[in-house]
Symmetry: C2
Subunit: 155 residues, 2 copies
């Protein structure tokens, strides 16, 4: 009987092949990634900044054509840093992880600043949604990134 139970347990384990996902822990991991990423942007290290995106990531920002894939995104980052006084930072607001732990989405609040032609400092407040996909190596990468103006933050 002991042997049957062992076989049953083994087959159950193999058959499932889906370990229980700790959604809370995965969500915290992604919240931390978002915070780290925002701090990384301040270093202006383009390669490090771009490493948070998946290879086929899709970035959408108000008033700009969508950026699809890492090469287009890298260019977008490089161009942004050419804008006088450009800076961007954000704070994660909430995260939701799928039951299978392969997909997650986050709501973020972002601030984009630059210096205009008269030397005045301009700051835009955005609401952002980022979608994260777990990669084959177990790391989370940003697959979709969209932001839009949020006047309720302009105080």
């Amino acid at each position: 009987m002991k042997r049957i139970v062992s076989v049953v347990m083994l087959v159950t384990a193999l058959g499932c092949n889906q370990p229980k996902v700790d959604k809370k822990a995965e969500g915290e991991k992604i919240m931390q990634l978002s915070k780290d990423w925002s701090q990384t942007v301040a270093t202006k290290d383009v390669e490090k900044i771009v490493s948070y995106w998946a290879d086929d990531a899709f970035v959408m920002q108000d008033g700009q054509p969508p950026f699809k894939g890492k090469q287009a995104i890298r260019q977008m980052v490089e161009e942004s840093f050419k804008i006088p006084g450009f800076s961007i930072s954000w704070q994660p607001e909430s995260v939701e992880v799928s039951d299978s732990g392969d997909m997650a989405y986050m709501i973020e609040n972002a601030q984009v600043s630059y210096t205009d032609s008269t030397g005045k400092r301009v700051t835009h407040h955005n609401k952002a949604v980022s979608i994260w996909r777990k990669q084959a190596d177990g790391s989370w990468k940003n697959a979709v990134d969209i932001s839009t103006g949020d006047p309720s933050q302009n105080k």
Copy 2:
């Protein structure tokens, strides 16, 4: 031996408790929902339009404060229909479903039109991301909806 195999199979089935998700079929269902929803908007049936959103849905649009929850969203829909000549329609571009079939996201292209104070017809082209959650009753509802201006569609 036969009996052991049966027990093993039964326990495997029970242990998993996660039927294989047909991600393609679920994705097609959501694509169809998106198309149906866009057509429903043309009917101006507010209750029917609002029924596509989850109770705690979150809507973000450029230049407007975020709308959180069905009551705020219903008001937003009602206000939109008061804008002279207001119309909105969209087409799903792509959909991705989580392995567990509980979460999905879609990229959409949207057109928002209205008549301005001079009687001129104005149309904005937006890129949108919608996040869908499977509800307890098996239906998919929109949980997050964010759109941003896409000048690459202005031709």
